[in-house]
Amino acid sequence: MKSISKCTLGLASALLASTAIAGSAQAEDLTLCWAAWDPANALVELSKDFTAQTGIGMKFEFVPWTNYADRFLNELNSKGKLCDLIIGDSQWIGGSAENGHYVKLNDFFDKEGIKMSDFVDATVVGYSEWPKNTPNYWSLPAFGDVVGWTYRKDWFEKPEIQAAFKEKYGRDLAVPATFAELKDIAEFFQGREVDGKKVYGASIYTERGSEGVTMGVMDVLYSYGFKYENPDKPYDMEGYVNSEKSVKGLEFYKALYDCCTPPGASNSYMGEGIDAFKSGQVALHMNFAFTWPGLQKDEMVGGDKVGFFANPAGPDGEKFAQLGGQGISVVSYSDKQDAALQYIKWFAQPEVQKKWWSLGGFSCLKAVVEDPSFPASQPYAKTFLDSMAIVKDFWAEPSYASLLQASQKRFHDYVVAGQGTAKEALDGLVKDWTEIFEDDGKM
């Protein structure tokens, strides 16, 4: 009888304990919000280690890129509690900091010994700081990304193609050193038959709805000498945004679109670019670095068939690239901020960051990317490093959405629809952006 009582008592205790543990785990489950793309799957894999170490479960809310900004900015604006952690786009930082959506992380970083100097400088400025270039941190650099190029290495190596190129341009067919050379290569491949199939020059960003055409145009304009504002007088854009050099850059982008893109590529962004490259349609492909691991692994166009290169130089030899990527932030409306901070502390560790890179996540930690073995760790690793060294980003002001929509319209109207001139498009952009900053009381 005594043993039965003991047994019953033991079972009851075990049941009670398991219920309590389950309850506490449920209470501590964190929800992380991000875009639905390949790196998100890698993060799910990586986060299993966090759960194993801390007992805190991880739930994920991933939204496709086309709805990513709408969905999560709505969530933040309505002070929703869906996300405890959010990997928000770099341009959201101004609005999210000023509107109180993100928890300021300075005290936490100081307490936990997390140093921003341990992360790639451009990613700290791009993903974490607001106001820019001040030590006010709202996120931890989570995923480094940058626009670069992939090309069909196997086509470049074909003797008959090399000979035809040399005959036409008087130089060897190789990775372009300048944008002018890039256009020559794209023109050379446009409509050419390769392996019995008609191929095209380049896939570039032309998407109208979200941010596509702006990311593509900016990626080129920077190297042509475009500046957002007078360095000595913030928000003074006249003569900088619409400088002669910027006009030349925009004209170049339109010329590249007109001469060398596949038919119907008038609304092309990341997904369409990947499709064009994977289906063997294009010789050159502009896209963010996050696409590179997938292309490298692709059975049809990956392996030895694909090569990577950073943005070539503009007419004056300047080289810049459009920054992508995001930082991870704690949402100020979350009831689980302590657990969320625990996740950030865990994520910042060098060994976790190393694993993050190995799973396909682009780490921003210097200990990872400056490791001597890093450039050889993947075929695209060096291009990633080279590209990250030359990044520039779009406005990260609280009004970034309005600023972006203005540029989307001006660029798409000119580049794709062929309305007006490059000068008119950029003059119009200065007018739009000035109005927005005036509305904000910044001018």
Binding site: D70, L73, N74, N77, K79, G95, E98, N99, G100, R208, G209, P262, P263, G264, A265, S266, N267, Q281, P398, A401, S402, L404, Q405, K409, H412, D413, Y414, V416, A417, G418, Q419, D439
Partner: protein, 322 residues
């Protein structure tokens, strides 16, 4: 009514009265018929006020402010009629209105012509007409999201069937037929899809109109030896006209606020070539987050549709009373 039935009804009424809780019954007993009627419609009215009238009043209020939904902490300033002035003097908004007018005009013209012709043919009641009616109705039963995606693939210059069919008949290479990328063709691409999808709807309404014409009128015309053409102009068209006008009204209102199909097909592009008013409104409200400005724009669109529809309904009534 027989005595048995009456006693049955009495018993049922007494049973209902007994089953009503006394306090409720006592309370209800004091209400007039009008009071009971109000009691029944009150939930609906409350619901309507909450989901229709209140948001409308709220939007009107916001339209006079600089409110932005993405800046909940920012000070909301009353800007008077400034938003309305900016909208009415904004060349981009006027361009969007012109694009909308082009879309509405051509879809209505094509759908009415084709829809009425199809209805007239179906009304002949030929062998298998029921089968063909069902086939013709299929497009309008599909979701606009499905139709948008489906036609996007059909219009693809490299793999799309549309380009190949046009190429087959015209000899133009399919890759040159860029329906969604060409500034010249894109507005027509959305007109074609909308016509494909909604002509059956116009056809149905016209068919109802044609079937409502009594046969004896045609029989009288036959006796008078009126030609088929004369019968069509003097009987068919005038008597079906109120139905045609109704179809035009429905399609006009629907297409004035067209969003989903255009968004899926072109997203307003290339450039702003197919940016109809609803796409501009969505961009202002949910991409630029200019909530006050977009509220003013929504009010202007509402007044425009409401005003035009009212004028049209008056014309319709005049035609019906003839």
């Amino acid at each position: 009514m027989t005595e048995t039935n009456a006693s049955l009804l009495d018993r049922a009424a007494q049973a209902a009265a007994r089953s009503t809780p006394e306090p409720v019954a006592r309370r209800v007993r004091g209400l007039s018929d009008k009071g009971v009627a109000w009691l029944f419609i009150a939930p609906t009215i409350v619901l309507l006020l909450a989901i229709n009238i209140f948001p409308l009043i709220w939007a009107i209020r916001l339209s006079f402010t600089n409110y932005r939904a993405n800046r909940p902490n920012a000070e909301v300033v009353n800007v008077g009629l400034d938003n309305y002035r900016r909208i009415l003097t904004d060349s981009d908004i006027w361009f969007a209105m012109q694009t909308t007018a082009h879309f509405v005009f051509w879809t209505i013209v094509l759908q009415t012509l084709i829809g009425f012709t199809l209805a007239w043919l179906i009304d002949r009641k030929f062998r298998g007409h029921a089968f063909w009616t069902t086939i013709i109705l299929v497009p309008m039963m599909l979701s606009p999201a499905v139709v948008g995606n489906f036609w996007r693939f059909l219009y693809e210059p490299q793999i799309g069937l549309f380009a190949y069919v046009v190429s087959f008949f015209s000899g133009i290479p399919p890759t040159d037929i860029q329906m969604l990328s060409s500034v010249r063709l894109a507005p027509w691409a959305i007109v074609i899809v909308d016509t494909w999808m909604w002509t059956p709807y116009v056809m149905l309404i016209c068919l109802a109109g044609l079937r409502s014409i009594p046969d004896y009128i045609y029989e009288a015309a036959e006796v008078d030896r009126a030609s088929n053409w004369r019968q069509f102009w003097s009987i068919t068209l005038p008597m079906a006209l109120p139905f045609i006008m109704l179809a035009v009204l429905f399609r006009g209102i629907e297409n004035f606020k067209m969003f989903d199909m255009v968004n899926l097909l072109t997203g307003g592009g290339p450039g702003s070539t197919t940016e109809v008013a609803s796409i501009t409104l969505k961009r202002e409200a949910f991409e630029k987050w200019r909530t006050g400005f977009s509220s003013a724009f929504a009010i202007i669109l509402f007044v425009a549709v409401f005003g035009l529809a009212n004028i049209y309904v008056k014309a319709l009534n005049r035609v019906k009373s003839r």
